[in-house]
């Protein structure tokens, strides 16, 4: 009996070791490429078959920060567009999520499918179709046109996330506030908003990331006149300018990462969670 037990334990330990080994190697595969990319960003000369650059330099980074490269301007435009898309998507998705999460009504099934359809049906096809109409309306080649098309691939995610949040939340608490005499704006700002905050955070982050990394829709709708960050990174990869493309990619990754972390830090502050507890 005890022998069987100890056998079992050794097996569990072996399993555990194997599991760790597998996990760490998979994680390594996820991380090493990023480090390798970082080395490339400091390379001046790195011919085949050298394992490390022959010459290191800060030239590519300097070029990036030089205003004449337009990189920082493109980065700010990217931030501006993605923040605008995030704001619009949330304004659209909070009421929509409430309707789909709390109420039963005619046509709900169809609307649910319509909401999720842009995840499955390629936005590329849809945008190519609508491009001609945007040209006619004077929206193509302008920031506003780009913001509008970015809504197509993003709102399915934000509506879906907020629908789930509202479905879990239910409408009991808001109902209580109504009975106690709160008007609808008070109910929204003091009751609903704090309660769905975490849902807004994940929906907002998702929308931002999808919009921020968008290449094709911006390229098509912006027609080369709306120069977001992906617009200047793409030709660098295409022409094989490795050190510079590596710098731009790293900044791109860092910007996305910083946004996600900052949003989490700012909005997960204690003040708000205290308010939440008082409810």
């Amino acid at each position: 009996m005890s022998q069987r037990n100890s056998e079992k334990i050794t097996k569990i330990i072996q399993n555990h070791k194997l599991r760790r080994f597998l996990l760490y190697s998979i994680i390594l595969i996820m991380i090493l490429p990023l480090l390798y990319l970082l080395i490339w960003s400091f390379a001046r000369r790195w011919p085949w078959p050298y394992l490390l650059p022959e010459e290191f330099s800060l030239d590519s980074w300097r070029y990036f920060f030089n205003p004449s490269s337009g990189a920082l301007a493109a980065l700010s435009l990217s931030f501006f567009i993605s923040l605008a898309v995030t704001f619009l998507a949330l304004c659209i998705s909070i009421p929509a999520g409430k309707a789909l999460g709390l109420y039963n009504f005619k046509g709900k099934k169809i609307i649910n499918s319509l909401v999720l359809a842009p995840i499955i049906i390629p936005p590329l096809a849809v945008t190519m179709g609508i491009h001609i109409n945007f040209i006619r309306l004077g929206l193509a080649g302008r920031v506003i046109g780009v913001i509008l098309v970015h809504l197509i691939p993003t709102i399915p995610y934000s509506i879906k996330i907020l629908t789930d949040v509202f479905a879990v939340l239910g409408d009991k608490i808001e109902e209580q506030a109504r009975v106690l005499g709160a008007n609808s704006w008070q109910r929204f700002f003091y009751i609903t908003l704090p309660l769905i905050k975490s849902g807004i955070l994940s929906a907002g982050t998702m929308v931002f990331i999808v919009s921020f990394s968008q290449y094709f829709l911006t390229f098509l709708m912006g027609g080369g006149r709306v120069v977001t960050f992906p617009m200047i990174l793409f030709p660098l990869i295409e022409t094989g300018n490795r050190p510079l493309a590596a710098v731009y990619s790293w900044v791109f990754i860092l910007a996305a990462l910083a946004f996600t972390i900052i949003i989490e830090r700012i909005f997960k502050n204690k003040e708000l969670s205290k308010e939440y507890l008082q409810l």
Partner: protein, 287 residues
């Protein structure tokens, strides 16, 4: 009065979303379909016809692109799903001290596809780090001896990019479901003598199957309709469908436009059928 408002309330709340979805999404789709049927008044085409469809669907270049796109999306999605489920299960079992790992593995999700594309190029191209390592190990003495994995006819570079980006996504989706599965079932099964594999296949797998399949559908549809990765890492022949569609679209010759739209509509139609099959499967599994 109040009653009427209550009935209308969900529709009022949905109005902004519906405007965007109907005007932009459905509007774009209808416009693409109309153009694919030859309705393009800008250059004087005003009659509906199926000719463009017939021409494109029998074109060898199109068929090669269709095969290539399906092959790339299917292989990368299958790889991501199989390894993603495996990784999620391992992460679940490592539950105690995994805060570092569970933060790190998600990193590729926020890495933009363009950056992922560059990394695959820097690692797997014939002058990439792998070929350099093989040279330094004296396995190859010339970069041309390294197998072509970027711009290659098998789309290996494209598949690797999608795999790297989508594996953590599948893991995240599946792990969320696995975490909510009642562990007492596992204890019962294990007391009855079930081994690890049996527990996985008979408890965890069936319960997480709906989210596994929806993750599959989402990543398949994404890879199937994405432009930049196959454009940057793919061969000149066959091209992926989205690349072919945009090539036709971007042509200075506007009469090429309906052909581009046929390709776009085919992309949309195949994705749509995939969604229908998925919904049928979900229904069957719920019976």
């Amino acid at each position: 009065m109040d009653d009427k408002y209550e009935i209308l309330k969900p529709y009022i709340l949905l109005l902004p979303a519906l405007i965007v979805l109907i005007v932009l999404f459905l509007g774009g789709l209808v416009s693409a379909i109309a153009q694919s049927l030859g309705y393009f008044p800008l250059i004087g085409l005003e009659e509906f016809t199926l000719n463009y469809f017939v021409e494109v669907l029998t074109d060898a270049q199109f068929l090669a692109a269709l095969r290539f796109s399906i092959y790339i999306s299917l292989l990368s999605s299958l790889l991501s799903v199989i390894l993603g489920v495996f990784l999620a299960y391992q992460l679940l079992k490592l539950a105690d001290d995994n805060s570092f790992i569970s933060a790190i593995y998600k990193l590729p999700i926020i890495v933009p596809y363009l950056a992922a594309t560059l990394m695959v190029f820097l690692i797997f191209s014939q002058s990439g780090i792998l070929s350099r390592i093989l040279y330094n190990l004296n396995i190859i003495d010339n970069m041309n001896l390294f197998p072509k994995m970027v711009f290659d006819n098998n789309g290996i570079g494209i598949i690797l990019t999608y795999f790297w980006k989508q594996l953590p996504f599948v893991t995240l989706v599946v792990l969320t479901v696995l975490k909510n599965i009642n562990t007492s079932w596992e204890e019962v099964a294990s007391n009855l003598g079930a081994n690890g594999w049996q527990i996985f296949w008979n408890i965890y797998f069936p319960i997480s199957l709906p989210s596994i399949s929806s993750a599959f559908v989402i990543i398949f549809a994404f890879s199937f309709g994405a432009y930049e990765v196959p454009y940057l890492l793919g061969p000149t022949f066959p091209r992926a469908l989205p690349v072919l569609a945009f090539q036709r679209y971007n042509s200075l010759d506007l009469s090429q436009r309906p052909y581009a739209m046929v390709i776009a509509v085919t992309l949309a139609a195949i994705s749509f059928v995939l969604m229908l099959i998925y919904k049928k499967l979900i229904k069957i599994s719920k019976l």
